[in-house]
Amino acid sequence: MSSPDHAPDAQRERVMLLAGAARDEALAFAGCKGEHAARALASGLLPALHSLQAEFGCISAWMIEPLAGTFNISQAEVRGVVSFYHDFRNEPAGRRVLKICRAEACQAMGCETLITRLKERHALTPGETSADSKLTIEAVYCLGNCALGPAALLDGEPVGRLDPSRLDQLVQEVRR
């Protein structure tokens, strides 16, 4: 996704800058040489992808080529990494992101009822963004809040003991 106020070239330069910084920092920290340093070169890739997604909202197809160049790996390898990890998106999320835990401890507290409610009452499905782009729902497997389930994370802020009415309220607030 290119935003209108940046020329693609400027964006590409920004990607190279962020990725290069992540690469150099990782390599310097690893403190190794020779064949080991060759392996350590790509160790900044995940930090780079995180910082790119934080700035651009997603990892777009056009970023693959400059990333491959920066880390001296093939474009296929970069694509392979991006597609392997659930966190990296190929298009931006909605304005807010609600992650709902669907793992065992939250199942024991009825998290599936919440997923059904999202579908039936709000036409929202995990992995999708609302038509008004205001809310993305994601299923996650454990947020480490397993004694206060069903657990959720709204833009990184933890929510515990989520129940249907609280969920309705939350969705309404976010989509207002």
Binding site: G31, C32, G44, L46, H50, A103, A108, C146
Partner: protein, 518 residues
């Protein structure tokens, strides 16, 4: 808020679980009310004491010691102030000193001694409460002697596999290389576990101290903490703790640490897959051997340990390996922070020497299901752990006893289900989860998990019952024996244990009678 000398100290947790229950609003409301009333209050943010059903649990420093109140809502604060809670006054939410509470006083807090009690980012508090003594002692010792203490303690890997930590450290120490690494596995992905998160948010310096000790013992000068992205608050606290530890000299040129953030792949909790991820690749499992202790990160010797394993090292160094080994039972030495989760009335973290019975945790301290219904099943050790029926609740909680009962202790998480649970659905989910999270490297895991879901669906649809049951058994055998790592290798554990302990849930007539087949 005021910081005058006469200010009353109020401790409010910033732990994620406490935040999920409204701790931030409570802190803000208290600050505001204190301003309005011109009360001298200093709010200190802490980790959690681990009694999550009482969160937000706040404590007030009074002449009679620290008095706890909870669960406190922001709307309770006026009433609390009116009741004189700043002096420890009586109120319906008053719990008394934390140390006197049933859930707390029967614990033996070693790793979590400071968690919830101190400001996690105050080096002075850390030191005042016994921090740094282990590291300082290690600085006066030879690497072999540090490892001898760890070996003598009997400390075993707390991530799940239970491998003796001393042997791992010794292997790395004896492997010569110009660069070695300490990698902390903080990719705590098992449902029902939160001890790593709680520690990183509540006492992050302890983990860094443990890593620095491991560094001294093995000759490693660099360390990484790989934290899952689902733990944004733990990431922030650990990053701040690293900066603090550098300023205070715990970290530096002798041993330094970088925080790395995962990207939502459960498999990266597997040690070789985590190393792949740190190297910037897909988190695909490596075949062993070679062991990470010989060829680990970037091909160099690497200690890879769980958060709790590394965090146990400072206490062991301070008090000696023998003191640690004196706790626990048999080959399960020391303490384990058990985590009571799921449908449980009093859920939280309970650190105790190994050997306590499942029943005393679930029915005693945990007080049964949150729903008020009978407890029907528990899953121990995360999504790859076995399901147990109430008839097995007298099993002692230690590595060997749980293994003998057909399960694994794993990272010490215990997820409770009430009698509304559908155990066939839980078995199906085990296969489904394996299919979602499989790294794809080996066939039994990649294909077996999907075939497992399909076969279970056929079974539950009433199709060729005997044949499909036999197929599931065969499939599980292949996955157990033929998978590269624990994900494929242990997925059969929840499946087969559910089949064994709850056969009625896999029987269509019985399902219909219970109204499960909708």
């Amino acid at each position: 808020m005021s910081t005058g000398e006469t200010a009353v100290h109020v401790f409010i947790p910033r732990d994620s679980a406490a935040l999920s229950a409204g701790a931030e609003r409570v802190a803000q409301q208290l600050a505001q009310e204190a301003r309005v009333r011109k009360a001298q209050v200093q709010i200190i943010r802490t980790g959690s004491r681990g009694m999550f059903w009482l969160e937000p649990l706040i404590e007030v420093e009074t002449a009679q010691g620290r008095i706890a109140y909870g669960p406190v809502k922001d709307s309770d604060l006026r009433g609390l102030l009116d009741a004189g809670f700043l002096q420890g006054g009586a109120h319906a939410l008053r719990l008394g000193p934390v140390e006197d509470m049933e859930f707390f006083k029967h614990q033996k807090r070693i790793t979590f001694a400071r968690c919830g009690a101190i400001d996690p980012l105050s080096f002075a508090d850390y030191r005042a409460k016994g921090g740094m003594t282990g590291f300082e002692k290690s600085c006066t010792m030879k690497p072999e002697d540090i490892i001898a203490e760890i070996t003598a303690s009997g400390l075993r890997g707390r991530g799940g596999a239970g491998f003796p930590a001393g042997i791992k450290w010794k292997t790395v120490q004896e492997t010569s290389a110009y660069q070695k690494y300490i990698v902390c596995n903080a990719d705590e992905g098992d449902s029902g576990t939160f001890a790593d998160r709680m520690l990183m948010e509540g006492d992050p310096l302890l983990l860094l101290e443990g890593m620095a000790i491991a560094g001294r013992a093995t000759g490693a000068t660099r360390g990484y903490v790989y934290i899952r992205s689902e733990y944004p608050h733990a990431v922030t606290t650990m990053q701040q703790a690293v900066a603090l530890a550098r300023r205070e000299g715990l970290l530096g040129a002798h041993f330094d640490v970088q925080i790395r953030v995962g990207a939502g792949a459960y498999i990266c909790g597997e040690e070789t897959s985590l190393l792949e991820s740190l190297e910037g690749r897909r988190g695909q499992v490596r075949a062993k051997p070679p062991l990470p202790a010989h060829h680990g990160l970037f091909g160099l010797p690497t200690v890879i340990n769980n958060v709790l394993t590394l965090a146990a090292a400072p206490w062991i160094l301070t008090h000696g390996g023998k003191a640690y080994a004196d706790l626990g039972v048999g080959r399960s030495t020391g303490t384990m922070p058990f985590q009571l989760a799921g449908n449980i009335r009093c859920g939280g973290l309970f650190e105790t020497p190994f050997g306590l019975s499942l029943r005393s945790l679930i029915e005693g301290f945990g007080q049964g299901a949150a729903s008020g219904r009978p407890v029907r099943a528990v899953q121990i050790g995360g999504p790859l752990g076995a399901y147990f029926a109430a008839s097995s609740f007298d099993t002692p909680l230690d590595y060997e006893s749980i293994a003998a009962a057909g399960g694994m202790l794993g990272h010490g998480g215990i997820v409770v289900f009430d009698d509304s649970a559908d155990m066939a659905k839980q078995a199906r989910f085990a296969f489904e989860f394996c299919a979602i999270e499989s790294c794809g490297k080996c066939t039994p895991c990649r294909i077996g998990s999907t075939r497992g879901v399909e076969t279970l669906d056929k079974l539950l649809a009433g199709e060729a019952r005997e044949r499909n049951l036999a197929l599931i058994g065969d499939l599980c055998e292949v996955m157990t024996d033929g998978s590269l790592c624990a994900l494929g290798g242990l997925t059969p554990m929840p499946v087969m244990s559910a089949l064994r302990a709850f056969p009625e849930d896999f029987n269509n007539a019985a399902r219909q009678a219970r109204g499960l087949n909708k």
